[in-house]
């Protein structure tokens, strides 16, 4: 057997590393040729076009009731689908303070999606407070995982999952770093919570999509209405389930005091994101017209802003 000398080791080691580097470079050059990423399309479905409003004392039950009132997730999800459920996990706050979506609501949506045959259900949010803390305290990570979802962190605004994607028909922006789950999932269920917001008056479903955007999202604020209308035109939400079990009526969107929480015990579901937001605004004594981005969304034909023109199915659970 030949003995390995130091010189021999160095020579062969150098050759081997050069080979490895060449191989790695070859792999890298492939990455440039990966198929272009495309945002998901709207999922064809036979859900009712009405607005469902469920009333009751149990968040999980009214979530199910609202979805059932539209026909159930079976009318949206076909077996094998990859479903993205987008709650609001932004703040390091317990559910009782109504800063984040109720974990029972998220868990129920995940369960129903799994029941409907979804191959994968993803839950994630680009949070404002530190993600490890918000995922835990909101109760959402645990509840969603137990219900069968894949829960993943967004690691800050430069997370590698944020990919510069075109905003088709954008007025205020033409592209933005969006989470690549939007290129992998074919169903998007938005599960926001209705809250006060000083700048836009309310933070509702359309605004909840900010949690799928990376980069310097704060820079949207001077032109928030058009930016949100842009992102809502590009990112196709198939179903919105508005958590109005508890709503935050002041000091939003973070709150922090029980005095700011109002128990409204409702769940609003619909395929029309503008109509859902308009209805939710009424819980605060406002109309969709009062919220600049909802108005902009209506003007961009994203949905109906006048809830008198929408058929509402009220159910109790």
């Amino acid at each position: 057997m030949r003995t390995m000398t130091r010189r021999g080791f160095l020579r062969e080691g150098t050759l081997a590393s050069a080979g490895g580097a060449a191989f790695a470079l070859g792999l890298c050059s492939q990455c440039g040729q990966q198929p272009e990423l495309k945002l998901k399309l709207p999922k064809e479905n036979s859900l009712s076009r009405d607005l469902a409003v469920a009333h009751g004392a149990d968040p999980a039950q009214i979530t199910k009731a609202a979805i059932d009132a539209l026909g159930g997730l079976g009318k949206l999800i076909t077996p094998g689908d990859v479903v993205m459920v987008k709650p609001n996990i932004s703040w390091d706050m317990p559910p009782a303070l109504a800063a984040t979506t109720n974990p029972d609501v998220v868990a129920t949506v995940v369960e129903l999606a799994v029941e409907a045959g979804a191959r994968e259900v993803h839950v994630l949010d680009h949070t404002l407070n530190e993600a490890r803390l918000t995922y835990k305290r909101s109760g959402i990570a645990e509840a969603a995982e137990r219900a069968g979802a894949t829960v993943s962190f967004v690691r800050g605004k430069n997370d590698r999952h944020f990919k510069e994607l075109p905003i088709e028909g954008g007025v205020s922006m033409t592209s933005w770093p969006l989470h690549d789950i939007l290129t992998k999932a074919n169903v998007l269920i938005n599960v926001p919570i209705a809250k006060h917001h000083e700048l836009t008056r309310l933070t509702l479903g359309m605004k909840n999509l900010m949690g799928l955007a990376g980069g310097e999202r704060g820079a949207w604020h001077p032109d928030i209405a058009q930016r949100l209308a842009d992102v809502n035109s590009a990112v196709k939400v198939d179903l919105t389930i508005m958590d109005a079990f508890r709503i935050l009526v002041d000091d939003g969107p973070r709150g922090g005091s029980p005095d700011d929480v109002k128990e409204t015990h409702q769940m609003i579901a619909g395929v029309d994101p503008v109509a859902v937001d308009s209805y939710a605004a009424t819980l605060f004594g406002l109309k969709g017209e009062d919220i600049n981005y909802v108005k902009a969304g209506h003007e961009r034909n994203l949905g109906e802003i006048d809830i008198n023109k929408v058929k509402i199915r009220e159910v109790t659970a």
């Binding site: 792999l27 490890r132 001077p222 600049n292």
Partner: protein
């Protein structure tokens, strides 16, 4: 070679490796989620040098340093076994010394030359302790545990994480064995990788300090431990009365192999003399002794003790004079005396003088900071404040519910806070730069700072101006700070959408008579009187 006895050396190497791995594991776990029972700062709390200087400079008993007392007792029994078996920095130097061995000069100087510079460590020790007496804490710059903590925590780990993360990302992009790579990615993030890449200001300075000490190994093995380490000097002093000693039995042929092998230069004479304070009980001498007569035991019989090289009277007087001269050199501080500079300190570090006296600059708070906003100060507030933590909100803010830094602080310079206490802890005050802030400078609506503000009653208020937004035509509202509510967490500055410098900035606490400050300080003093010197449960001083 004595087979039976070389087993002792092997045991020592295994123990050294185990302690180094434990140290590295604890560095790794100094992060959210902090393990409930693992005392992540136990190595720092085992340093009698840090214990002594922190208690001297803060003039208080710090219960968290009980492990250091244990180490002192250990040293009385087993001499400098800490240096030879436990110290993670010593073990690191053993490893680097091995790599440097082929570049080291072959000619070995005689024992007298080798020992000529041993007293330098006493000079370092004298100055460090003397400064502590005058309330100046500089031990952390020289304590080997601090150096190891800073090097591994703020240099080595971030570098490791960077390389590992980039490699993983390349693997993910390459689509090579995607299932395996995805599994590896997840497993790595759940075990060894950071949540986000840690970045520390001036990490190159820490790297340079480390590399400098390592390169001293070109002159002699364990150069730092022999000549410079003030912690080693403490152990050296205690070792002179220790029970464990080296003896050379009859039959020594004066082959001097032990003297050549000794990495501390502790063996003198004809191989039979040992300087007890210099020996770190590594058992190399008895491993190489061909006659098997070099031995260690507790017997009180005739030990061939070499005279330990102490500090001469002249040297001691010089060190004292140097230490006293260093006091005004460090404390006469233009930046601080003129009020030019004041940091936003981590929560509970609001009494600057007290904080400077108690902080040992170990970097644990920076390592654990969940947003990465705690960064080492350089010279901007004078040499005295060098490497103390300050909040740089543009890099990371102080998370409202987070209390990690107080939990890892080895000295209690940062107190352990409950979540409720943390909510009321004021660390600074925000103010607007109206030349930059969008609603002020550009007449556009923006309220990112207001929406993020974590105080239940917002510390930022939007007020009507009677003007309209110049683009959207909506009513323009401008933000104002409510300083009596603001806690200075820096979330507003962090989230401000302006590039580079924000339009809202966090500076030091505005009102020195803020009633909230008085409450916080009174609470701290009450707690201190009840004997809670800070420290995490299980670490000695927990609550």
């Amino acid at each position: 070679m004595n087979k039976g006895k070389s087993r002792l050396r092997t045991t020592r190497r295994v123990v050294q490796a185990a302690f180094l791995l434990l140290f590295l594991y604890l560095i790794l776990r100094t992060a959210e989620p902090l393990p409930a029972s693992a005392p992540v700062s136990i190595f720092l709390r085992s340093s009698p040098l840090l214990a002594l200087t922190a208690m001297l400079s803060s003039r208080a008993w710090i219960a968290a340093f009980v492990p250091a007392i244990v180490v002192v007792v250990l040293t009385v029994a087993l001499a400098r076994v800490f240096c030879g078996w436990i110290c993670p920095f010593g073990t690191t130097l053993d490893i680097t010394d091995r790599f440097l061995s082929r570049f080291r000069q072959k000619r070995k100087p005689d024992a007298a030359t080798q020992q000529r510079y041993h007293p330098v460590k006493y000079v370092v020790l004298t100055i460090v302790v003397l400064l502590a007496v005058f309330g100046v804490q500089v031990a952390g710059w020289f304590d080997p545990i601090c150096i190891a903590t800073r090097t591994y925590g703020t240099v080595a780990y971030p570098y490791f994480n960077f390389v590992a993360e980039k490699t993983l990302q390349t693997a993910v992009r390459s689509n090579f064995l995607p299932g395996f790579v995805a599994w590896l990615d997840q497993a790595a993030h759940q075990s060894v990788l950071a949540f986000t890449q840690p970045v520390y200001r001036a990490h190159l300075v820490f790297l340079a300090v480390f590399v400098g000490i390592v390169l001293l190994g070109l002159l002699e093995r364990r150069f730092w431990c022999r000549h410079l380490c003030p912690l080693g000097a403490i152990f050296d002093l205690i070792s002179r009365v220790s029970f464990l000693r080296r003896y050379v039995r009859d039959g020594c042929t004066n082959c001097m192999r032990c003297q050549r092998e000794c990495k501390m230069g502790a063996i003198t004479g004809k191989g039979e003399m040992t300087a007890p304070g210099e020996c770190i009980e590594c058992f190399a001498c008895d491993a190489v002794c061909p006659e098997g007569v070099s031995t260690f035991s507790f017997s009180t019989g005739k030990a061939q003790r070499a005279k330990s090289v102490g500090l001469s009277r002249r040297g001691f007087v010089g060190a004292v004079a140097g230490g006293i001269a260093a006091v005004p050199a460090l404390r006469t501080n233009f930046a601080r005396s003129e009020g030019l500079f004041r940091f936003v300190r981590p929560p509970g570090g609001d009494e600057e003088e007290k904080f400077l006296a108690e902080c040992v600059r170990c970097g644990q708070c920076m390592r654990v900071c969940i947003t990465g906003g705690l960064q080492p100060a350089l010279l901007e507030a004078g040499l005295e404040a060098m490497w103390t933590p300050k909040l740089v909100p543009r890099v990371g803010y102080c998370e409202y519910n987070c209390t990690l830094c107080g939990q890892v602080c080895p000295t209690g310079a940062l107190p352990i806070l409950t979540e409720e206490e943390k909510h009321e802890t004021v660390i600074g005050t925000a103010f607007f730069d109206r030349n930059r802030c969008i609603p002020w400078a550009e007449n556009r609506n923006c309220a990112v700072c207001e929406e993020c503000c974590p105080t239940p009653t917002k510390s930022i208020e939007l007020r009507d101006t009677g003007l309209v937004d110049e683009v959207t035509g909506e009513p323009l509202r401008r933000p104002y700070i409510l300083p009596e509510v603001c806690i200075g967490c820096g979330l507003c500055e962090y989230k401000c959408p302006l590039p580079a410098q924000a339009g809202v900035l966090v500076g030091p606490i505005r009102d020195p008579d803020d009633p909230r400050l008085r409450q916080m300080r009174a609470r701290r003093r009450r707690r201190r009187r009840r004997g809670r010197g800070g420290g995490r449960g299980g670490d000695g001083g927990g609550d």
